[in-house]
């Protein structure tokens, strides 16, 4: 085991554990990029919290802003043409107000990130041992010999066979799964409090994916880390996250404890993401419920609910008014939808003619039990 050695550190961050309240608090975070085409609002008012030792899943399609969100939390944004507002507090300290020099004392030590593509995230011309030792030398004031011994231990703990030998290898000598294990070893080297894993298993075989996710869960339990698991696949977080956030077009559209999210899905988008996954239990040849179309252009997002153009239940109100994040019943479960699903069925009022979009829905008295929840906010 690798202990948390904090001996000679010159960090004003050592009191992170003594802080009361959630480990990470993200409040009304906005990140936009100035591009020649206009301003891209990649993250548009996102708030959430993560407590110590917990696992949060962030799910969305490409272009939903989930990667920009994780980079905004880390403070890994390009220096130019970025507009940001909102705050990120980590262990009581405001990350969003820190300079890069200050962030460097946090990165790797208290907060680390596992990137999607282990081939490009690792330095191809440095031995993996050197890359693992880097943060040990920097943050934990180890000498080279100690760092090397710790690197070997770390490689062993992430399940790399004969680590004494592998520590001298270069990334190209390892398979994709092994490289991702090395990435995890680097991320965990200084025993951080929070690990942000951005699509850590995308591009890996399903067998390797389950190995890597199991490994991460095991190390998390051992070390009482919090983990944010960012993915496009609800299947990846279904059995691993305590809570799940579903993002669409830069915003949170639903947030709930994992079981609630699956059992009592409110937002049609969340339901659609679930339905698009091929299930083993379905007979072969079963048609998948694909979501038509693509996520919107974030330079000119649609008015009203941003999912309305792809939503089978969208009504005029959805296209005109932006639904706020709200709750019905449990305060843990928030969603942004005018006509949330109840027991899998939409509460949207029936449209007179057909489902043709744009029909002037004079919305007659709802045949369904209810636009009842509508009154909630």
């Amino acid at each position: 085991m690798i202990g948390r050695r904090r001996g000679g550190r010159t960090l004003e961050f050592a009191d992170v554990g003594s802080h009361d309240g959630p480990l990470l608090v993200v409040d009304d975070l906005h990140t936009a990029f100035r591009t020649p085409r206009g301003t891209v609002r990649a993250v548009d008012g996102v708030s959430f919290e993560v407590s110590e030792g917990r696992t949060l899943g962030i799910v969305g399609e490409s272009g939903s802003g989930k990667t920009v969100l994780s980079r905004s939390i880390m403070g890994l944004l390009p220096p130019r043409d970025v507009l940001r507002s909102g705050t990120v507090h980590f262990g009581g300290h405001e990350l969003s107000a820190m300079s890069e020099t200050q962030l460097r004392t946090v990165w790797g030590a208290e907060l680390s990130m596992i990137f999607q593509d282990p081939m490009t995230a690792l330095n191809p011309v440095k031995r993996i041992g050197t890359q693992i030792s880097e943060s040990l030398l920097l943050h934990l004031d180890m000498d080279k010999k100690e760092a090397r011994a710790t690197a070997i231990e770390l490689l062993r703990s992430v399940g790399i066979p004969s680590p004494e030998e592998r520590v001298r290898w270069y990334p190209f000598q390892l398979s994709g799964g092994m490289r991702q294990r090395v990435m995890i070893a680097i991320a965990l080297a200084c025993a951080p409090r929070l690990v942000l894993a951005d699509e850590p298993t995308t591009g890996l075989d399903v067998t390797v994916q389950s190995q890597i996710l199991d490994l991460l869960a095991e190390l998390q339990r051992e070390r009482h880390m919090a983990v944010i698991l960012v993915t496009h696949d609800l299947g990846v977080v279904a059995t691993r996250a305590d809570e799940i956030i579903v993002m669409y077009a830069g915003r949170i559209v639903e947030r709930a404890p994992t079981r609630t999210l699956f059992r009592d899905t409110k937002m049609p988008y969340t339901r659609a993401l679930m339905d698009s996954i091929p299930r083993l239990a379905d007979p072969s040849g079963a048609r998948l419920d694909a979501i038509a179309g693509r996520p919107p252009d974030l330079v000119h997002p649609p008015s009203g609910c941003r999912f309305a153009p792809r939503c089978p239940y969208a009504r005029d109100k959805c296209r005109e008014q932006d639904p706020p994040l709200r709750t019905v019943g449990s305060p843990d479960h928030v969603f942004a939808c005018w006509y949330p699903l109840v027991d899998g069925a939409s509460t949207a009022p029936p449209v007179p003619v057909t489902l043709a979009a744009g029909t002037a829905g004079a919305a007659p008295a709802a045949a369904h039990p209810a636009p009842g929840p509508e009154a909630a906010p």
Partner: protein
Amino acid sequence: MTDAPATPVPSGGRRGEPSGDVVLDVTDLVVEFRSGRQRVQAVSGVTFQVRRGETLGLVGESGCGKSTTGRALVQVQPATSGTIDYLGEDLTALSGRRQRELRTKIQMIFQDPISSLNPRRRVKDIVAEPLAIWKHGTKEERATRVRTMLEAVGIDPDSAGDRRPGEFSGGQCQRISIARALMAEPDLLICDEPVSALDVSVQAQILNLLADLKSRFQLTMVFIAHDLAVVKNVSDRVAVMYLGKLVEVAGSDELYEAAAHPYTEALLASIPEPDPDHTSDHKALNGELPSPLNPPSGCRFRTRCPYAQDRCAAEEPPLRELSPGHQVACHFPVGPRAAAAPPESPVPTPPTSSS
């Protein structure tokens, strides 16, 4: 090989029972690569058939030889030995013009949709290329066919035709690749991990599109992927590959309900199910694929197999028929049919773990 009376399949005539004419007959296919002075067998003796109108799934981990097999079928990768019969003609023995002609009948779509399209060419030219090579029709006729095909794959020819691949998302590029592959009016479409680089939402769109095109153009397909849930969705039959060899072949539903090879079990176990209460009754897999430079003796899977016995190291299990249409290469198959396995085995069958 089929030394035991096969147990009758409870539900006869289900999806997965081979029927129809054999379009592709692959016999003992071997593909070798040189690695320094050594030779590596990426595919070591694979035999299977594909029948008209069916989709055969080929599933396994990276490095198992599934893509190499696919590339050998389209003759991008020459076979070292073995035969690939396409409607009675051995593709490996052909050369020159005849080979080129037959190649139009067997088309392939690739894993990485963006890099498989030339970034400097316009979409309409990329899609017209197969016709341009064969000088089919006039320029105007080709343009019409390009329009029809782009529409068929869900790309708007008016707005997309003059643009270049870089302006499209991964899913759209994959649609363009599919359009290009279908331009030559192929009989057989080899799909090599066509959805593994895509989001689940886009993946569902592409899988549905492939199903539609398959019936519209009467295609026969070989669908290569590492995710058994995806493969099961599109395939009538599935062949599971491990380290260059087939370990199990069965109808898709049969494979899921009664996986007989421990490796198939492990593949099933590793699929992330979107269900918080999901617990797999299959065993997960440890370790990595061994090096094909030095494959394990006997059964190649034994080094990672939870049920391996001495016999597995000593003797290579042949691919034998467990029940009609269900073949397995394992001395001690798991699952309900294990009891009907050859009575020759003195070792008790390990506890079954599949339902």
